[in-house]
């Protein structure tokens, strides 16, 4: 891992990953949409609303995956002072925030017809809303300091402290009474979901993950370019 602490080597890696991520994202999302909207059955209880699952669940998974990546990268930043780890964390924040917003919004659109309400203040929904605020707080702190290094440090500490929320989200449906259904894919006794519905779900999840890597690659390259711009401007001034 330390090998990639070198920005030049890291950018080379990012450039190599980017077209693969883009290609996999486009192909799996196209196939995923086909299965989600056309080649999969309606649920015997939920009817056609079950299709919302194919955009809701992957968004929620990515919300947690991005946060874990951001917190992990922040820990590397603080422990080893690797500048590129911080670039990854900083580039991940808006992507994770977008996925979290989508998880909340699509969940609301699913909750209204199935639960009879757009929103309930239960453990799962509230902890995901807190996740959104953690992302927004991270981005606000990151940009709030004139001294960039201090802002980065404060944001990294927030990301690490906020990581306690991730297992709370995951297990909230087991620990507290809730309207939200418990896990049906990632569970010890195997997925409790029919293959005809698992196929679009897995395709969309792979698509969202590849999409994250694609957008991350774009944002990391832009971020490293801008720090070069700042360094050159400083040298010129």
């Amino acid at each position: 891992m330390h090998r990639f602490a070198n920005p030049t080597r890291f950018v080379a890696l990012v450039r190599a990953v980017q077209p693969w991520a883009a290609g996999i994202a486009l192909v799996t999302l196209a196939a995923g949409l086909w299965f989600s909207l056309i080649a999969s059955p309606a649920d015997y209880q939920q009817g056609e609303t079950v299709r919302i699952m194919y955009v809701h669940v992957p968004a929620a998974w990515m919300a947690m995956f991005c946060y874990s990546s951001m917190a992990g990268a922040s820990a590397v930043t603080l422990v080893w002072r690797h500048a590129v780890a911080h670039v990854v964390a900083r580039a991940t924040a808006p992507i994770g925030a977008s996925f979290t917003f989508l998880a909340l919004a699509t969940g609301s659109l699913w909750g209204k017809p199935m639960w009879g309400t757009w929103w309930v203040w239960d453990a799962r929904l509230t902890s995901v809303l807190i996740l959104l605020f953690l992302y927004l707080g991270y981005m606000a702190i990151e940009n709030a300091f004139d001294d960039r290094a201090r802002g980065s440090r404060a944001a990294a500490i927030l990301a690490i402290v906020g990581a306690v929320n991730v297992p709370i989200i995951k297990f909230s449906v087991d620990w507290w009474n809730t309207l939200h259904q418990p896990a049906s894919v990632v569970r010890l006794d195997g997925p409790a979901i029919h293959p005809s519905m698992l196929t679009p779900l897995v395709l969309m999840a792979v698509g969202y993950t590849a999409l994250y890597l694609w957008i991350l690659a774009l944002r990391v390259r832009a971020d490293i370019n801008m720090s070069k711009v700042r360094a050159l401007t400083l040298r010129g001034a």
Binding site: I215, V229, T233
Partner: protein, 62 residues
């Protein structure tokens, strides 16, 4: 024709299913477009600055 209308009606849940997919598409595409644009802008800024730096170095060390 009825088949198509039935399909888009989503069993009466059209006003929940389509906004969920539409909103997801809008947010994801917007994020992608903004990120692509920022990369292009950063590349342009860097290229310009390198050009200026190169010129000024030529002036000081002819």
């Amino acid at each position: 024709m009825d088949m198509i209308r039935d399909y888009f009606a989503m069993g009466g849940y059209a006003s929940f299913v389509w906004p969920a997919f539409g909103l997801s598409a809008v947010v994801v595409v917007a994020l992608l477009v903004v990120s692509l644009r920022n990369l292009r802008l950063s590349e342009a800024a860097l290229a310009e600055l390198r050009h200026v730096t190169l010129l000024s170095e030529e002036e000081t060390h002819p």
